[in-house]
Amino acid sequence: MTHAHASRRASAPALRFLLQVLLIAALASLPWFAEKYYVQFVARIMIMGILAMSLDLLLGYTGLVSFGHAAFYGVAAYVLAMLTPAYQAAGFWTSFPIAVIGAATSALIIGFFVVRTHGIYFIMVTLAFAQMLFFLFHDTRLAGGNDGIYIDVRPDARILGWKPFNLERYDHVYLLVLVLFVLVWLFLRVLLRSRFGHVLAGIRVNEHRMRSLGFETFRYKLACFTIAGALAGIAGYLSAVQFGVVNPEFMGWHQSAAVMMMVILGGMGTLAGPVLGAAAWMLLELGFQSLPVAGSIDLGKHWQLWMGGFIVLTALLLPSGLLGAWSSLARQVSARRGAGPQTTANPMASAGKGRPLDRQP
């Protein structure tokens, strides 16, 4: 590695850090100049970003293709709905941890069964258990059944008489979402560099070898599944707060598939990818829904047709997501210019396998 090249690489993290701080500052200032609609839309993107990052922990970093991730998102939302008395507020500081623990617990229980399966079985079994929860809320009068359940009053954030924020205000909801989004991001960054994160990478690449090295992989996969469930629960709680209503669709398989799509669209095995994917997905949804009426067919009403076609094309043409397409484009450009050596180019970490561990200089 040449000296110039090394110094360029050393300055890259500092630059990236600066960009991230600027981005967060820009996001934090949004409520002061944007209209309510846009603020809420960005909040939704960040909520979906949390959900997509939590799925990426399974999908991209551990190689566990969960097709039922929305279950835990839904469980946390339902916990809040059920903790909220009619026409009164639940306490934020109690309902939030309970909702997240509820999501984590259900992930732990379901994970106990699903994590012992592999590949295609894992896909089907996660979907089946998520549907079991879906039918539990859909078919029973446990929490409003098919119609769902309303949260009349948003959670009260009062703590010893002091009220740091008011969740009846959309801008406060937005800022809470932003704070939790950043915290989840930081948490995952730290987690992925820890021993645990490295074990997950090892499991993704070669689980059999991890076992012969002495790792009881069941335990680590279960822990990973539980953590991902808890983080999905954070997103579910925030969604319930934002919408003020929870219904079985929260945990339906269309929700699970949508999150999966966000992760793949953005790029698996990265943290920025799922967030980017969430934004792209929601913009697409909005775009397709606002299509005009053409002749006898309302194009916007049948937006799922275009979404379905888009998914089919993405699966066929964009195997490594937006970030992957971007970096392979960048590689091609730099290769054509004959620029710098590809020291970290990694032939095996292509298409959907994500990035392995932190590179050590």
């Binding site: 549907q131 398989w253 999966m260 793949i264 379905g308």
Partner: protein, 299 residues
């Protein structure tokens, strides 16, 4: 439980189980032979049911509708394989799931555009619109017996096709060793196309013959798909025998789960929870045999 009631429930569960087998055998065959997970499989069940409904409307006769709908299903299968599925053979499971999920969305919307979003009904064909009296108050519809009969005939045909014919031998060899079959000069691509079309047709046929007893409604395919997944997980992916055993098992558990719950009588604690019984069965099997009853153990 009275004997007659028990008999009726038993017949119901066998009929449901055999119908499930018809659908899930296609799912498991396509996976076992082609290595493809097709989550859009349930859509073909829905398409079959809607075809039966709309063609019965136009032609005025259920049998004529059936005679036309089956070839349509075969063509849908062949075209779909050629159009998209063949690009999936070398792809990761994840992309197979995604692409076929995209197909579900498209099928649902096309169904909505073509046939609307209302719940439809198909009349039981006159020739089979009768009941067999079991006691003074209880009887069993002939049509349900006919469903079981059709499923059994199809199951027999499939057994014959896979075990006894040259095509079947090629199919079995192809699922074991693709390169070897290819080197023998057999067109694997053609076999894959036919197997996929077979799977589509089986699911669509199930939808057609089920249409007169279950209503025809949006989302019916997704409901059945999940149950088929449970069947395949319990039976073992790729095993037709496993699909048969697991389908019948689920038919029994589902039907009697509901009945027995009602029997508890006084305590009507969430009777709908009975629909959970199949998932509990799946959970128990997963603890015991994670690769299913007849699945091959994969490291």
């Amino acid at each position: 439980m009275e004997l007659a009631t028990f008999l009726i429930q038993l017949l119901n569960s066998v009929q449901y189980g055999l119908l499930l087998f018809l659908i899930s055998s296609g799912l498991t065959l396509v996976f076992g032979i082609m290595g493809i997970i097709n989550v859009a499989h349930g859509s073909f069940y829905m398409i079959g049911a809607y075809l039966a409904w709309s063609l019965t409307q136009t032609l005025g006769n259920f049998w004529a509708a059936l005679a036309l709908a089956v070839p349509i299903a075969v063509i849908i299968g062949l075209v779909l394989e050629w159009l998209v599925v063949r690009f999936l053979y070398t792809r990761d499971l994840l992309y197979q799931v995604l692409l076929t999920y995209g197909l579900i969305l498209m099928f649902e919307e096309l169904r909505s555009i073509l046939w609307g979003d209302d719940v439809r009904g198909v009349n039981i064909p006159a020739a089979l619109d009768a009941s067999i009296r079991l006691t003074d108050t209880l009887s069993y519809p002939v049509y349900r017996l006919a469903i079981s009969g059709v499923c059994l005939v199809v199951a027999g045909l499939m057994y014959w096709l896979i075990q006894k014919t040259r095509v079947g031998m090629t199919i079995r060899a192809g699922s074991v060793n693709r390169e070897m079959v290819q080197s023998l000069g057999i067109d694997v691509k053609l076999i894959y196309r036919l197997v996929f079309a077979l799977g589509v047709t089986l699911a669509a046929l199930a939808g057609m013959i089920a249409a007169p007893v279950s209503s025809v409604f949006p989302g019916m395919g997704n409901q059945i798909l999940i149950v088929c997944f449970v069947v395949v997980v319990i039976g073992g992916m790729g095993s037709v025998k496993g699909a048969l055993v697991a389908s019948l098992l689920i038919g029994l558990v589902d039907t009697f789960g509901k009945v027995l719950h009602v029997q508890i009588g006084g305590v009507h604690l969430l009777p709908e929870l009975a629909s959970m019984s199949v998932y509990l069965l799946m959970a128990a099997i997963l603890l015991w045999r994670p690769e299913g009853l007849f699945g091959k153990h994969t490291g």
